[in-house]
Amino acid sequence: MSQNNALLEYVLRLGDNTLILGQRLSEWCGHGPVLEEDIALTNHALDYLGQATLMMQYASKVQDEGKDEDQIAFLRDAPEYKNILLVELPNGDYAHTVARQFLFSAWYSLVLENISSSSDEFLASFAVKSLKEVKYHLQHSSDWVLRLGDGTEESHRRMQDAIDKIWPYTGEMFTMDSIDQLMFDQKIGPNFISLKAVWLDHVKAILEEAGLTMPPDAWSHSGGKQGRHTEHLGFILSDMQFLQRAYPGAKW
């Protein structure tokens, strides 16, 4: 794979994580358990879609085929999406959304921290900016893990169940393939394997404080980064891409 293609894949991985998670979170719009949370999650979605736009613009530049960011975001098929599986998981109950958000934000903030000093100038400036937003997301989901885990018997049960269900999708965040390795060698991105210890420390501290049990390290689902997705992604895309598929080139 050429250097340029590897960078494009890498940018899509980062951009698709926020595009798909942003799309997922926006499903909460008008359905939040309380007004404040409805607003909070749609604010998260807005941050993610903004970050996705920046990444897709960069992808468009790297790709250099004359496709703009909207074409890249809306006109690819499922195997061409390179997000990790965790972000495409359904929202579930509020505890599931919180668990997914917490485990993802704890990882994503480490990734952005690392990319802040990337040798790729655009990625570095993107990361410095996005990290400010993601720190608020991490604080928000950490607070909710504590509140639900250390709340009533019912909220504790649901929070534990959500952590247990989502945990087997966290392993993919710490995998390295040949593209990740190439980017790491060029000081563009992190060695994902080495982020795991810091991530575990943070996650463990919050789970313990919340009175929750950390699931054991076991087999994990993966494949999203290579375009092998769960059945859920197709449903997200049929929703997200409807307009551009039905009315190609439609503008606001």
């Binding site: 607003i39 937003e133 604080q139 928000h140």
Partner: protein, 163 residues
């Protein structure tokens, strides 16, 4: 055509109100980063407050309108991410305008580590000045604000959070 002095353009852009907080200008907010002539073309550099801030497009349109009023035909509006926008750029005058408008201004410089992780010390109520306030949600009516309420006058209010 004679080139219009950039100072004049700065002053004119300084009259453009933030679309969501119409008491401060986009210059006071720190969104306009640079204005310069490149030969016969004017280059205006702006930066987004938040990555997904929907107001940025409206600000761009407003800038174009002002440039058109000046009769400037060749211009480019560039977006930069570096240095990343920070609430530190909002000066004391603008903070006072926010307070009068009913939005508690960002309290600390982002050098304060507490504010970086979203934890802030007591925020004064912009209505009654009481510091007995509590945060309802870190996410408010726009990306840049958190929702607070005053424990004394019981009014809810927006807080411009530090980033």
């Amino acid at each position: 055509m004679n080139q219009i002095n950039v100072d004049e353009i700065w002053t004119a852009l300084g009259e453009i109100e933030d679309p969501e907080i119409p008491v401060i200008s986009i210059v006071e907010l720190g969104v306009v980063r640079d204005i310069q002539w490149n030969n016969d073309s004017l280059e205006v550099t702006i930066t987004p407050t938040y990555s997904g801030c929907p107001a940025l497009k409206a600000m761009e349109d407003d800038i174009v309108e002002v440039l058109n009023e000046f009769g400037i035909e060749k211009f480019e509006i560039k977006t930069t991410l570096t240095p990343a926008w920070t609430t530190d750029w909002i000066n004391e005058d603008a903070r006072e305008k926010l307070r009068i408008y009913g939005i508690a201004p960002p309290l600390h410089s982002t050098v304060d580590k507490l504010s970086l992780v979203g934890r802030s010390r007591s925020i004064a109520c912009p209505q009654c000045k009481s510091t007995s306030t509590s945060m309802i949600s870190q996410f408010g009516s726009t990306a840049c604000k958190a929702l607070y309420k005053c424990n004394d006058c019981l009014e809810p209010f927006d807080y411009f959070k530090c980033i």
